[in-house]
Assembly symmetry: D3
Homo-oligomer: 210 residues x 6
């Protein structure tokens, strides 16, 4: 499925395999993992392909791991059985917030895949504990803002990515001072804004899956 | 730009740089190069990412080189000046003929980039000698066919990729016997069919660029 | 310098170079970067060397980037001049909290290196805006705890790494739900605990540098 | 065996293994694969070793794949049984046409290996459907020529590699316009020339194997 | 265990695995292997990490192999059973003679590991045939010297690493002319000096293990 | 040039470049370096290509370094001027002693290259201090032997490679106990045998170059 947030477009796909990685065998647990990548011309200035460089950069690794952790946070992996779901999030066009768009879209691809697995009898009971959605928030010119586009993001003093469950709790909170350090009041304001943004996305996800 | 041939969808982008690789400096000639890649879920069964494997496979290398050669074949590189155009052809969905779709789409991305360069004054004179388009043809059940989809391609006895100029000459002819060897008569029939297909694509390219 | 937190021992070293990476030249700004690594037997069960595997894993990348960002957050890079400081954080023994120990120790190695640079006249004015220290906190058995050792960390429901400045503001907040999602009250309790822990570390850093 | 075409010398060796790659197991089919490489001083100017660079270049990949496809084209892989033949073609000295020399020599190494396998009882029935030989042809100064040496090859307007079976049919036709595009008449002339060259090589192969 | 020779400090650790590499299975023999590495700031001038470069250098490979061979030379691998001992020698600080310090320290780590294995019943009989220790010797200003520090080593005309058993025989002798070639008399003098140095180390090893 | 020792055949080539590596610039000194490699079918059982594996093994590194050191030992690098000679030693067929054959053959390729450089005026004065040759010796069934073939080498209790100058001094001595440790008397006997073998090779080198 293709998720669009302003100028950001991410293609999210789920692939199902009826086995788990070696280190997880005979545990009765399923596994969900994610890979994030950006096309070389997703950005305005071309980036070299990681396949050509022969190694995956730190940023890509970091985001792939964030998506995997976030998505696993909404599932009961015992109910998935010994199956693996591989999520692929490929950024076709980037204008800020690609990692949070990827998490939000990956959840929908995952929900579709799980429906298909239940239809096939691969999964017996609903493995979802909750849903998951993510937003980026930041302080720009001293003011908290939701869903930063690229130019806002580059100018932000503080940048925060927040992953919430459908019932308003947190799975991941990552805040970074890009310019000046931030104090507790700013942090609280950003968390409020993010929680509201995630609630709105949760509503849109429900619509999309209905 | 996004090119679609049946179930095949390839995103083609051109990036311009006002310099040439080191080995070409002070030659007065421009350079055009291409990179081809497939998203992991472009096909029905997921393929591992080459970036994750840490190396580019032979098939990817082979196709990237074919696109580069084909595209360079329609340009007078002296008129490009010491500029480089990097073409990226990323297959979002694959249903046969991805390499020929990539060549045909890359030409349009290239034509757009050259227009932009002429607008900016980076290129003074029209560097195009001709246009370029490509088709795949094959022998299926003993009969020559144009534009094989994946299931036909897998069943083809002979598989041929042909790159033609806008005036009907050849830039690249690659025929491979997948099952039984082919004789001269079959080769001739495939070349006729391919030339006709390329002529039709040339007409569509003109429309797209108009 | 060797920093010890319970059973965790990290060797932190700073290396100075009187130039900056190519992309930063002629900016008048300095650069600080960090590399984190773990000896194969730092943990109880041996881990394969990343040099032998030929690639750096996602976790290592992620932590190296965290240390670099955290450390840059306490400096005015203009006052560093066009010099690079490379921080190396090598974990000799790991018992939880290696990344936060690395940040805290890297600050001391950095402060030593900057003193040396000022002695040599490489840096004219004090580039430190503040100091930086980090702690890990987590919820274990429903209770917030400071400085988790490995067995606590493995059992934690929520795991949070917090990087603070010497004056009590935040540079980085990374909270992850390992088991169940966490709510705002839990997040607040963890942030309070972390801020207190960082204040204590700031005091110890001052003693060590005096 | 060492094959020499003018100044080109290629060492071709076949290695037999009594198993097939994992993806081919329990198919009842054999497998033949090839690796092509050039010594660093095979050419007049030294080329860096691919092992030292840590990756195989596109040209090497492309040629290895061509040799493998060509050679598989002359065999009934069912009659080979679940055995693998690995062909190694190492260019000791290069003066044009190394890939076609490699195909022609690899056929002889293959035929020897198959004889040995039949002697050992590893292969029951003759798996050869036909023989295979290859030539390079090109247009130099407007004239079609057979077996281009390096200086002719560099000057060629069109370069074509043709792989034929012993009974004159085609396994692979690869024609590339290096300078100007070529028309159907030129293509026909090159194919005629190539077919004649392959017929002569087929005769020499028979002598060598007798 | 941490071994110190003057300014050289090497951390040596042994890890036990109750299996052997695939090529050794069902041989009844154990296996001992070693990996050597240097922290980036072990030397006065920082060295880039091999993990970051993505490949292990020749010097590292050479020393790891030397340690492995030396250590295997003092064991009866049949008595070890099908177990593997992996030795890790990490240089924290380097001031000459790191490879010989690593061999000498690795022996002690090995002896500890074997004691532990015997306690666990993994090894029934004492597998040690002898002990092993190593020194570096060299000719500096025309005079043979034992245990060269870094500045002596850099100035040495001849550099020799000698690995001896506890009963005074040789396992490895590696002499290299750095400046002028050396004659038989010089070689003899260096061997005498080395044998004496190894005897002293053997005594110290016994004390350490008592 | 192709050097043959019994069943061992090594192709040695020297390539000249009129510059030195970056770290050597403006030193007034030349540089000589060597790369050793084995064709996959040089041995009776095929070895995988290091280029395909994407990394060079420890043995290859070790031997390349040995050849480089040995060859540099016979030259006055100041007289070579700021030129680099790259030696390539490729083993076509291996039957023991490939590294010593490579050193001995590399010297001849080097001498030819230096003659050519002197003819071109790239080198003014004779840079050779002496010549260099190498042999392998070993103890088989309790007896010292010269020039071990593969089956002897595999059975040897002690294996020693010795590189000598034309005037009988040593450049490199590498002795390894494969089975039992060796004592001083055995070492002395091997050194005598090696010195005699090198003297004979020096004579043959002179003939070859005359």
């Amino acid at each position: 499925m293709l998720i669009e947030f302003g100028g950001t477009r991410v293609l999210c796909a789920a692939s199902v395999q009826d086995s788990v990685p070696r280190w997880r065998r005979d545990s009765g647990l399923g596994w969900v993992t994610a890979e994030y990548a950006m096309l070389p011309r997703a950005t305005n200035t071309r980036n070299d392909r990681e396949a050509v460089k022969g190694r995956i950069g730190g940023r890509t690794h970091e985001i792939s791991r964030l998506i995997g952790r976030s998505i696993r946070g909404c599932l009961d992996l015992r109910k998935l059985g010994e199956n693996t779901i591989q999520l692929d999030c490929d950024v076709l066009q980037a204008d800020g917030g690609t990692r949070t768009a990827a998490v939000t879209g990956a959840y929908i691809a995952l929900a579709d895949a799980v429906s298909w697995m239940r239809g096939k009898g691969l999964v017996k009971a609903d493995p979802f504990v909750t849903s998951v959605a993510a937003v980026s928030v930041g302080v720009v010119d001293g003011e908290p803002r939701l869903d930063l586009c690229y130019t806002e993001d580059a100018a932000a003093e503080t940048d925060m990515n927040v992953v919430c469950t459908g019932d308003g709790r947190f799975i991941e909170v990552q805040g970074t001072a890009e310019g000046a350090p931030f104090d507790r009041a700013e942090l609280d304001a950003l968390l409020d804004l993010a929680a509201g943004g995630c609630a709105e996305l949760t509503r849109l996800q429900k619509e999309a899956l209905a």
